[in-house]
Subunit: 244 residues, 2 copies
Amino acid sequence: MDKPGTRDNGHMATPSISHRLAEAAVALFDENGYDETTVDDIAARAGVSRSTFFRYYRSKEDAIFPDHDTLLAQVDARLRASTADTAIVAVSDAVRIVLAHYVADAEVSLRRYRLVGRVPALRDRENASVARYQRLFREFIGKWLAGTPDADLRAELMAASVVAAHNQVLRGWLRAGGTYDPSGPLDQALGYVIATFRHLERPQDGRDDVVVATFSRSASPLAVMEAIQGHLRPRPTGETGEKP
Amino acid sequence: MDKPGTRDNGHMATPSISHRLAEAAVALFDENGYDETTVDDIAARAGVSRSTFFRYYRSKEDAIFPDHDTLLAQVDARLRASTADTAIVAVSDAVRIVLAHYVADAEVSLRRYRLVGRVPALRDRENASVARYQRLFREFIGKWLAGTPDADLRAELMAASVVAAHNQVLRGWLRAGGTYDPSGPLDQALGYVIATFRHLERPQDGRDDVVVATFSRSASPLAVMEAIQGHLRPRPTGETGEKP
DNA sequence: ACGCAAGCGAGACTGAGTATCGTCTCAGTG
DNA sequence: CACTGAGACGATACTCAGTCTCGCTTGCGT
């Protein structure tokens, strides 16, 4: 079931075959273009046979989107490992997992980004992946909201928004060449999404306000808490109007 | 540039070749499955040669998603034919155009829905189409919001939400066997979306302020959530109720 | 030393998609 | 009527992705 190359021995002196194949694929795609590169070419440059290529990757496109199933499984696991109380946290964490994965391999992510931008077939492939993530989120949120009014519609909207927020942050980061840490913007974007839907949750409650918080990673927890408390109105009378 | 079969002579006594091909394709897909049906089979049943099939459809999948480019062009046209004042109307109209197109051909839509549900390759294809619609909406909304704060992020979120709303309504209608008029539910769903984002449009006019904060990853999610919940409504009745 | 299983190469095969060429039909023209 | 040129179709060959089978080697345990 599991392809042998899925597990990577990145520390070996002799790079693993899957590594060599991926390297060869990306290099050839860069040099000659995607359509112009055949699987034979990739295998030849990696020094293996065509058969071996298909032992490690299900398809030619798979050579560019390896660890995708792994990532999807991680997201799924993170979502499952949560109760109703922590649903929002689970979703946020899951999204962070995905973004962190891109950031961890900025080099590869950037090359892939440029490549995907030029090849429609790969764009479609990526969209298909995004849809799978969205489906995961939709099902999770759907279960979470089960029983509430408009559960299906809201689950769909929230899932789409969460994924869209991630994509927006990711694209921005990629366009900038992966030169900064996108976790701040991601938290901000997720806060935006959460705030958006929280307005719908209790639209009539009136004056009870909502605090959605996002912190920079460098901030110490204590400073964070102080900041929050500073922005909260200790007296309902006082209009502190924050708007960070 | 334009494939001959794109324009349909649906009124002819002898059905057009593109019609015969599409009929043959769907019939064979239903009978023998998608992967098991070759283009030769389709062409043979339609009484034409394999060459002719590819003259009318770019690929095997195209035989199931014909008028897709047309629909995309209609959406694009509707969006372009609008000023900033009527942006919301334009978006709503564009979505309605898409849904109406499915409803107009309920028979075909239902068969395709069942087929797509069983064939992953077709699902991916459909997701790719959805992404193209979403891109259209995103670009339109992006221009519309240009200059406002967080324009890109909001455009992305709105586009995703609009498309998600459409898909949710469409899927519900398809699952029900296309037995009712979905324009009501669609309007409702779109209203939901519009209401959602309207809350964000003017965050400052109401006195209910929003504070966005970010958390360090090192902080345990549970602790963070508890902290936030502890800081929320220090005054009111108690009522911690999550689970909206 | 003897299996024995896993990893790999070789090669055949199916089928999608492309390109080229030949044929036929039909419209317009003299 | 004969000629001509364009468009639609069929036939064929070709490339390449993806699948499958078989046979070889290597290494590991007994």
